[in-house]
Amino acid sequence: MTTAVRTDAEAHGRTERARTEARAHGRSDPARPRRLALVASKGTLDGAYPPLILAATAASLGWEVGIFFTFYGLDIIHKRRHRKLKVAPVGNPAMPVPVPNLLGALPGMTAAATAMMKGWMKNAHLPDVAEFLDMARESGTKLFACSTTMGVMGVKEKDLVPGVDIAGATAFLDFAADADVSLFV
């Protein structure tokens, strides 16, 4: 009994030492490309850009990139919905013209906020969501479609843009386990 406990403690100590050494020496295999693992969980227009911009940038640096699109984030790779992502003025105190929440809920306010952001993006010559998805596919970014979300929300494979991998959290975590940077956005 005592021996078993000591063995566990020793094993734990070895693991910790290995981790400390790994941290001290940097990455285990410097020849391996760096890897970025993103979780895209938001289905708004303003929520779609950060993961897509980070993915395009990381791919430009020669990194491997994977994005796990889950819950409302799945709309970003939904054939129909990714062209209709919106900015919500309700509960958003960062609007350039501060809109009282009650007015933000009026008909047309969401469309107005969305049109405004699309205008900014166009004026800044930034790609739209569809163009960012093209860039992601061209650069070999892995687009994971969360299968649980598909089941919960009744989304079929034919509803998604081409080039996505339908996967559960396990497959994504297997990819993310070797990531140098992991972000939930």
Binding site: T57, S60, L61, A124, L126, M135
Partner: protein, 80 residues
């Protein structure tokens, strides 16, 4: 004026992150090792981004300068 001769030039003026680095990455892919790319940018973030890009990609950032809101970078492609 610059002491470097560019084999290729890329105009990224008016573009914001991630486009300058994205297009530079594509342009570097078309160069042979040893060749030099000149990039012009107006995104103020470029001054921080291009040294990081060169470090990550293993390219040599020969020169970085800014004049009148335009940043000019000379990057040399290193052998893979």
């Amino acid at each position: 004026m610059s002491d470097f001769t560019a084999d290729s030039e890329l105009d990224c003026k008016g573009l914001l992150c991630p486009l300058p680095v994205y297009r530079t990455s594509q342009a570097m892919g078309r160069l042979a090792p040893g060749q030099v790319l000149k990039v012009e940018c107006t995104d103020p973030g470029s001054l921080a981004d291009f040294p990081a890009f060169a470090r990550q990609r293993g390219h040599a950032l020969l020169s970085a300068s800014a004049l009148d809101g335009v940043q000019v970078f000379y990057l040399r492609k290193e052998a893979a």
